[in-house]
């Protein structure tokens, strides 16, 4: 993988997640108790042996920068190679929308990296993969571009890119659809190609007024290239709406998903290290089917929920089917059900809060109820 330069595109802002993403880029959304979405993208690259990684920054980049800093927690703070931030193009120079201008503005990064291939991914898909297999597949297929896809498990709303392939795995059709149906081949926003191919694609599309890498670049130029499709067999979640975010978090409560995503010794998911105390369960605690992050202190009942770092659940309090982000405080006797609380929310004594099973109630950052 020494021949591959990784670029993670955090400029894909086409999300249906509103409340939770109001103050941060979607890619910086907290996930599964201690992670942020972008952790998966970076860890996958690092675990596959890619040591040159560029991050195309989103417009609201503070949360991402604060989270990743030097890249040390991903072993990317290196003397040679390592992590490079690729800032968004200045609006003065270019008022176009879309991510292409930002990729174009940073094209030097890939071209001067001295690497043979570019692996472009994003952070709105959650999976654990070894890209070495993808590179081997790409070389064997003698294609110009390789895309990674998964078979959709259910019907889903939200923009997705689907492909059709011939029996030998070559892409015959490539289209963006407003919703996806079960069984369709869902492209996971990950593309591998030689650096010159990437540079040509970006440059020629941008110079002809293109805005979006995927729509104006890949889809429009699809017929110029031989594109092969690599199927990822493992668990995949696409975070494109609040409901998908809620469900993907709750998928981590399935032991097989938890094991596959997080407990692979060869491919751990790295994240920013915070020195939190192991979870403290007190005398009156009762916890079932939940993920509890360090720093939590529990005296009440927690079921089918995900508690982020430093959450406290008071005596007689009940937390069910909920996601509580960092430092939430559910005080004595309070009750939350099907709720997503953003950071630092306080549910004061004996308050009840309930969302619907298919529509979690969202409490914004720092609220006091």
């Amino acid at each position: 993988m020494k021949q591959v330069v990784g670029i993670i595109n955090l400029q894909e802002g086409n999300s249906l997640i509103r409340e939770l993403a109001a103050t941060r880029a979607v890619e910086a959304l907290p996930f599964a108790g201690r992670y942020r979405l972008v952790d998966f993208a970076i860890s996958n690259m690092v675990n596959s042996g890619i040591s040159t990684v560029g991050l195309v920054l989103p417009d609201f980049s503070r949360a991402v920068l604060d989270h990743i800093r030097s890249g040390k927690d991903w072993d990317l703070a290196r003397r040679r190679d390592g992590l490079t931030y690729l800032p968004a193009a200045l609006p003065d120079n270019d008022s176009r929308k879309g991510d292409l201008k930002d990729i174009y503005a940073n094209l030097d990064f890939a071209e001067l990296s001295g690497k043979q291939y570019v692996l472009l991914t994003n952070a709105s898909y959650i999976y654990n993969i070894d890209f070495q297999d993808v590179l081997a597949f790409h070389k064997k297929s003698s294609a110009d571009i390789t895309m990674i896809y998964t078979k959709a498990q259910t019907d889903r709303e939200g923009k997705s890119v689907v492909i059709e392939t011939s029996t030998n795995g070559i892409v015959t059709d490539l289209a963006e659809v407003p919703a996806i149906k079960e069984g369709q081949k869902d492209v996971m926003g990950a593309y591998l190609m030689p650096v010159p191919t990437f540079a040509y694609l970006v440059r020629s599309t941008y110079e002809r007024g293109g805005q979006d890498f995927l729509l104006d670049g890949l889809i429009r130029h699809a017929n110029e290239f031989k594109i092969s499709a690599y199927k990822h067999e493992g668990y995949v979640a696409h975070i494109n709406s609040t409901m998908e975010y809620y469900e993907a978090n709750r998928d981590c409560l399935k032991p097989e998903v938890w094991e596959e995503l997080f407990m692979n010794n060869e491919r751990p998911i790295f994240t920013k290290v915070k020195d939190e105390v192991p979870v403290q369960y007190k005398e009156t605690a009762s916890v079932k089917n939940s993920l509890i992050a360090n720093g939590c202190e529990i005296r009440g009942t927690v079921e089918n929920s995900i508690l982020f770092r430093g959450v406290t659940v008071g005596k007689g309090a009940v937390v069910k089917d909920s996601i509580l982000m960092q430092r939430c405080d559910v005080q004595d006797g309070a009750r939350v059900e099907a709720v997503i609380c953003d950071k630092n929310v306080i549910i004061t004594k004996n308050r009840w809060l309930k969302g619907a099973e298919n529509y979690p109630y969202i409490v914004t950052k720092n609220a006091r109820i």
Binding site: T271, P278, N289, A293, I306
Partner: protein
């Protein structure tokens, strides 16, 4: 090397033979504690929290795992330019090589390191106590007293006093007038915590004298402190009133772990001073649908499907369905299979308690399952 005001030296070479099975492959300071920590995290974090930027760690017994754990010191934010953690094992000189023959000899053999760091004060710590403390206050007291030596002391019960090195002090000034090593009839209940601040030139003079002495045991408590007292040096005590525990035995190690489980623990790891530690990349722990967890501490990457009550559970531990684990400490990645029973025990790293097996100790007789061993039903 950049000059530093106060250099810390942590004595981490001890074998900890009373911890038996737990120190078969590691030095005592590397023994796990409190769900995610190792004993040496406490003095190291204290240094980081006290603004001490240079720390020498003196290692000797089975040092590899400890060296590996310390790494660059980044876990404690001690990977500083011109500072940080320095690992100091014994080394060979022109006239041959020596093991560290005692606590004072370990420092004596590294006098050239101390000269390089050129500190005004040297803080000597041991790597086998659990406590959080800001040493900067002790250093301030040392300076205010214009002392040659300041010794950290801790009030113990009179019954316990004969087990410790006891400092007899002047009530008003805190000046030490007498030192009794494990006295039958203690004159005071102020025990030495094994924490010393020395003014550097003073320490150097005594170390150089002691180093060449044939009949010395080269120990701070046995040799240097009594000699300094005899010479009427300015020696002061510094009283510490927080939680402090020597975890030199299986029972005391187990008890210190259990202390963390009270509703309001006497020792709050969430206190003002953070305890830093190496953090493996593991997810929040998973508590299964049939699990029951009470009065326990559980770290990341653990998977709990059975019953856990009054336990400290480290990272990556598995507790199977129907298993019952009570009053125990389970060290990293140990596995307790379905239906197994564990009570009053310490289960060391990677040990496996097979399905249906029983491991039962009792209060005062904690059962230890050694690292990597398998207990069958």
């Amino acid at each position: 090397m950049r000059k530093t005001e106060c250099l810390a030296m942590i004595l981490a070479g001890g074998q900890g033979s009373r911890l038996k099975a737990l120190t078969k492959t590691v030095a005592k300071p590397a023994v796990p504690f409190g769900g995610k920590y190792r004993i040496i995290d406490f003095p190291l974090s204290n240094c980081a929290n006290s603004g001490i930027e240079k720390v020498g760690v003196l290692t000797q017994y089975k040092p590899l795992e400890l060296h590996n754990y310390l790494g660059s010191g980044s876990s404690w934010d001690l990977d500083r330019t011109g500072g940080g953690v320095f690992i100091l094992p014994p080394y060979a000189r022109e006239k041959g090589a020596d093991w560290y023959r005692g606590t004072a000899d370990a420092i004596y053999q590294n006098l050239n390191f101390i000269d390089l760091a050129d500190p005004d004060y040297v803080l000597i710590l041991s790597g086998d106590h659990i406590y959080t403390m800001d040493y900067s206050w002790m250093l301030k007291a040392h300076k205010d007293n214009n002392a040659d030596v300041t010794i950290g002391v801790f009030e113990v019960s009179w019954e316990e006093a004969p087990r410790f090195g006891i400092m007899v002090t002047d009530k008003e000034t805190g000046r030490i007038t007498e030192f009794q090593e494990k006295p039958k009839e203690p004159k005071s209940n102020l025990a030495s915590m094994g924490i010393y601040i020395f003014s550097k030139p003073f320490l150097k003079k005594y170390l150089e004298e002691d180093g060449v002495k044939e009949d010395s045991t080269h120990d701070f408590g046995n040799d240097l402190i009594p000699k300094m007292l005899a010479d009427n040096a300015r020696m002061f005590s510094y009283a510490f009133d927080g939680y402090w525990k020597d975890v030199g035995t299986i029972e005391s190690l187990w008890q210190a772990n259990m202390d963390l489980l009270q509703d309001q623990p006497p020792f709050d790891l969430k206190g003002d001073q953070k305890v830093f530690s190496s953090n493996p990349s593991l997810p929040p722990h998973f508590v299964g649908p049939y699990a029951a967890v009470k009065q326990s501490m559980i770290n990341e990457g653990a998977k709990i499907e059975g019953e856990v009550d009054k336990c400290v559970i480290f990272q990556g531990v598995r507790v199977g369905k129907g298993a019952k684990v009570t009053n125990s400490v389970v060290l990293p990645t140990a596995v307790i299979e379905d239906g197994a029973i564990v009570n009053y025990a310490i289960i060391a790293q990677d040990a496996v308690i097979k399905a249906g097996a029983k491991v039962e100790g009792k209060p005062g007789e904690i059962f230890v399952v050694p690292e990597g061993s398998v207990v069958n039903a």
